[in-house]
Amino acid sequence: MLVNLAQNLLNGLMTGMLIAIPAIGFSAIYAVLRYPNFAIAAYATIGAFAGWWLNSTFGLGIVWIILIAFCVSGVVGVAAEQVTLARLRPAGVLTVAIASIALNLMLENAVRFLFGNDLRGFDLAIQPDWRILALRIGPQQVQNMLLSLAIMAAVFLFLRYSPFGKAMRAVADNSDLARLKGINPTRIAVATIFMGAGLAGVGGVLLGLDTSIDPMTGARILLSIFAAAVLGGLGSIPGAVVGALLIGMAEEVSLLAFPATYKTAIGFVAILLILTLRPRGLLGERAL
């Protein structure tokens, strides 16, 4: 029993590390633009397909796949934002949030139209799982965790130390004051969408490496991403990471007590609890 619990916690940690990357993207977009962008699921799917296509067509290595998938999802994200959501911003947060759900469906079906509904897997050597004590862990999962950590570190360093990252945080903090200081919030918003959608795309690649991909890849983790961001505090980057790890572990541990069908309920329960008990989230700056 204890071994099972430990194994599920470990699995959950790995799931959480994968959810964390798109959750950071989701939260960053929320922090700067002040609306939940549910199209993040489609951006993850698009990144996954871009990565899979590069891998199966050119046999590119993982670092190249991640970099290019980041850019592809980022560009699609900015284009979709400018053509659709940006025009709806004057109509208010709720309108843009609902429109992002519609945008998500459109992009998901565009992927379906281009690549079909089949499951696809990256072209990777199959490696046996490692056994450490009584726990199983796959080499691919370890690689994913390391990649995820490296990406988190890169995002953290960028936001913390680069002038552009500081400008992003300034706009997220107080866009009126940022404008007074000569920072153009519109330009920062575009860059944030690029980064957020790009991170979602990278998350899609990591998910694809872990299992397989299809047009629903992003949609399947959307609730977990949203729950992670709300749990950690919408708009907080460290919060998104903490939230993702907690959601991932809670989902896996729930398997010990409930049938797998109920796994998705964990996200809803987490959102319900956090909104009731602590609406600004674990690490959030302000209430929703």
């Binding site: 400008a167 945080r169 107080n174 009126d176 004051l177």
Partner: protein, 235 residues
Amino acid sequence: MTILDVAKVVAGYGAAEEILKEASITVDAGEIVTIIGPNGAGKSTLLKLVAGLVPVRRGTVQFGGRDVTGLDALGRSATGISFVPQERNVFGTLTVADNLLISAYHDRAKAVSRRETMYERYPLLAEKRKALARTLSGGQRQILAMAMGLMSAPKMLLLDEPTAGLSPKAADALFDAITALNREGMPILMVEQHAVEALEISTRGYVLVTGRNAANGPGPALAADPEIRPLFLGG
């Protein structure tokens, strides 16, 4: 020499509402000018109009001999006008050091050396450089906000009620800092609730009532005027 010349401006927020009704002010080189008046007189609106945050409906704004009436806030700041808002005037989630740096976003090459100047001028900012701005006390925060306003090397500083909410001691310290800055030649235009203290350090003052000029004159003289005092001393 006149640096700022605001002539007969009309402005307001809503379509029909007129808060400023042909108000006029000038600021000369090296002056501290304070605008006082009862609540709702349009003092802050006038300051925001100079900063480009409130559009000019009629009248003109000239700065440094140039007509800037049509410029927005980004354009006005590029001409050398620096506005320090009354509230939410620092980035609470950034460190003091980053608040200063980000305030010279378009002058990154000079930002670090200017920040050193600010650290020398206001040692408390050097002490607190690694602290998040939201952890500062009210007085420290106002000093930071003013230093942020100076990071763009402006030609004139606009201060919107800099001592609002401060303890008398912190307010005195801030007035000292404002005087010291002005003595080095920085023209300052400010709006203040603490009218007497503000007028006493001001070269000139304007009394604004319901969007119109009601009186003006040398600061200390206005502060002592028995006919002016009831207008702004809250009864």
